[in-house]
Symmetry: C2
Subunit: 142 residues, 2 copies
DNA sequence: GTGCGTGCAAATTCTTTGCAATGCA
DNA sequence: TGCATTGCAAAGAATTTGCACGCAC
């Protein structure tokens, strides 16, 4: 679940923004972890490669990365501020309840479910947020 | 999307807890609204029928109601602390992006999607969180 | 009486903002 | 020069905790 630095650079450039050393450290920290990290954890991890990084910058960068769709927030029991890299703007996350690892899942044909929802509620559905929880291969093998 | 007071009473009783006047005010406030409310909004609404209610009690009650599955948190751009009544422990919410109204949606056959997820990620899926966003009938008519 | 439940105030945690300094084009 | 970017410190918001009192069984 790597983050494409070139893509991020391009997205930022399109808005007149830059991928600075600090922002890159934040991106790398999120991309390097296969768990979902809190802003503070991102800060701590990113600091290893960029000791002069400030927490404020982490918050600002995370928001920015969220806007361009490079990050996704995980909906969990403690809230939904934990972050995970997203290779595409639309995709879903599968969270292992044992080790916390998160994997991306892109193939999703929700046609039937969305049609059923429309039938049951009358709403015109424009977006869906789906998150799966389960047990990853390694944890299942134990 | 009514909340069943008897059911809540029973769930609480099973844990040796009571549905007090304050707790009932919180339940009523959430049930009466068809939008998703923040804890503060619940507090303000619940106070109308229970002026001596404290914010602390609201937080404690919301957590309690969440535990027994009577409430569901909505995953939104600003976080996921906004609450909506849930008639069943498993169900999904459909949020109108125009007026903010939330409707419950219970019929969901995710079999195919879950199978695809298992195939793609190898995870054994145990739970899913699905939230739909769209436009409600009234807003669509305008 | 025994615990659950409560409100208030204080403490804590998390996040955002103001601002002067820095850096790159 | 012009504007994005940064860190620090302060401010602010949201949430939790400690505690003594009230209330139901």
């Amino acid at each position: 679940m790597a983050l494409d630095t070139d893509l991020i650079t391009a997205e930022l450039a399109a808005r007149g923004l830059r991928l600075t050393r600090q922002r890159r450290a934040v991106v790398d920290a999120v991309a390097a972890s296969d768990a979902c990290l809190s802003p503070l954890e991102v800060f701590q991890a990113a600091r290893e490669g960029c000791p002069d990084l400030g927490l404020t910058t982490v918050y600002r960068t995370l928001e920015l990365l969220g806007e361009i769709g490079a990050l996704r927030r995980i909906h969990g029991a403690e809230g939904c501020e934990r972050l995970v890299p997203a290779s595409t703007a639309h995709g879903h996350s599968v969270v292992c309840g044992v080790c916390g690892r998160v994997t991306e899942f892109t193939e999703c044909d929700m046609t039937n479910v969305l049609a059923a929802a429309r039938r049951e509620t009358g709403y015109r559905i424009t977006e869906h947020f789906l998150q799966l929880n389960g047990v990853c291969i390694e944890c299942a093998a134990r």
